[in-house]
């Protein structure tokens, strides 16, 4: 272990270590978890030259304030984030996302807020010095699994880093900002449990994202869905992005930390192409659902992955 580290001066609201997720364990009740926005995650790692599945810090809304106590570090912040770097001589540099910065000993990185979005990421050149559990460094705080005893980052925590950065070059990526309200879905396993009118409402009326939204799920408020068959089903395995409707008729979208099995009927599933976009929506925002077919969803996702590869390929050195 190196002796280079950050100290946490302010933890932020929900700051955790995450990677792509922990797989092959859902049959034991362990949800995959991982970064909510896998696109911003990959871009962050690419900027600092890491393997794309290296662990990063994920934060939501207000991020952490970290002080580099020992060492030199190169970081990248992705998402849509307001942050600043406070140099040890008190100079304040206002930060831009999707580019790298060098931190010297004594510098602070102050991640103030995500801007019109929920999640942001900080990647570190060479990676954080954290211990994986079952091949992943994703934190699942409700089961206390992952680095940092499976907990969110707390004040005065020491965050160890692997390498003392020698690289003087900095890089930036061009990431287009998307803003749309339409979320494309596929029919859920129990789509037919809902009345024809409810099916029509679901695919035409607006739904508001409620405050009851976290890494596990997003509760929506809108036209009540009328179940004409049964409001409970036999518990079955869950898939990320499943939209379930409990007896009160208000849909809940199951997100990255979903419970591994569940017994509510599912009206639809969010497509992979729109998932990373959906989770960046904040409470109060409104969304619409559009039904598409499987082949189209697969094609759109392929195109989406290509666009992320293009962003990564076009990372340029800053002169």
């Amino acid at each position: 272990m190196s002796n280079y580290f950050f100290e946490v001066l302010r933890p932020g609201i929900n700051t955790t270590f995450q990677d792509k997720g922990r797989f092959h364990m859902q049959h034991l009740g362990v949800t995959p978890g991982g970064c909510m926005d896998l696109d911003s995650f990959s871009i962050a790692n690419a900027l600092v030259g890491n393997p794309l599945n290296e662990g990063v810090l994920e934060f939501a809304y207000q991020g952490p304030l970290l002080k580099l106590i020992k060492g030199r570090a190169k970081i990248a912040i992705t998402g849509s984030v307001i942050f600043q770097i406070i140099k040890s001589n008190k100079e304040v540099i206002s930060g831009k996302d999707n580019r790298t910065y060098d931190l010297d000993e004594g510098d602070q990185i102050d991640i103030l807020a995500t801007q019109q979005s929920a999640y942001g990421y900080m990647a570190l050149e060479g990676g954080f010095d954290i211990k994986p559990f079952c091949k992943s460094v994703s934190t699942l705080s409700r089961a206390e699994i992952g680095p940092n005893e499976g907990q969110k980052i707390k004040i005065n925590n020491k965050i160890n880093i692997r390498v003392n950065s020698k690289n003087k070059k900095n890089f930036s990526a061009k990431v287009p900002k998307k803003n749309k309200t339409k979320i494309r879905v596929l029919k859920g396993s129990q789509f037919d449990y809902f009345s024809k009118e409810s099916q029509k409402d679901f695919l035409s009326k607006e739904y508001k994202i409620s405050n009851l939204t976290d890494r596990m799920g997003m509760r929506l408020e809108g036209t009540v869905m009328k179940n004409i068959v049964n409001t409970n089903i036999r518990s079955e395995g869950i898939t990320k992005g499943a939209i379930q409707v409990p007896a009160d008729g208000q849909p809940i979208i199951l997100l990255t930390d979903y419970p591994t099995i569940g017994g509510y009927p599912k009206i639809a599933n969010v497509t992979s192409v729109d998932y990373n976009f959906l989770i960046q929506k904040t409470p109060g925002e409104k969304i619409f659902f559009e039904l598409i077919q499987l082949r189209e969803a697969e094609q759109l996702y392929k195109e989406h992955l290509n666009s992320i590869s293009e962003i990564v390929k076009n990372i340029k050195e800053i002169n």
């Binding site: 092959h24 009740g29 995959p32 396993s189 518990s235 898939t239």
Partner: protein, 228 residues
Amino acid sequence: MFKKLNNIGDCGIVCDFGEEVNRETNSNVIKLFHHVREEVLKGSLNGILNYTPSYNKLIINFDLEKINSSQIIDFLKSVDFSKLNLSQNSKKWTIPVCYDFEMDLENMSKTLKMNKDEIINIHLNTNFFVYMVGFIPGHPFMGDLNSKLFLNRLKTPRVTIPAGSVGIVEKFCNIYPYKSPGGWNIIGRTPAKLFDKKNETSPCLLSPGDSVKFKSISKEEFEKLANE
């Protein structure tokens, strides 16, 4: 053999074995689960991320970057069910339980018109089968209890139930691996760790398809085992 194959979203497949929930249906689900898991661990099915058996379904989640629904459906259709085996992958467990930690036996005794010992004896003499594990890490759903013990969930779920609590609802028995809210009828508590993150190679005690028998222990034995 499954009755239907469908996609759930663009990165999931559900193998539906029919509506009936019994050991035979679930054993078939679990046979397929073991087979898929082995193929994935062998490296012959690249891109599959998870395989989650439940009472009557197996859900397969995959990475759409590496594989798609139709490739997985082709694989599933080629499976020869006559060659799948359940027993070689399933373990038998004896789990200690201290009934002194019950929370609901009094009420159950009234509802079922049975004395507490009779309830405990039925529980102790049942050979349980682990239908599935999930919701949270290590949480088993086991059956089948004698229909004499048929009970619904509590009308008002408890805000917290201690870790290790053993509960029953309908024909099922569960164990809460973590301190959590819950609505099952609590008849005792086990000192066994259902999910042990210190044991990284095999953190989860019970797997789908395992068999379980309970063994009654005293409070003193409970404390001793809990502190081990």
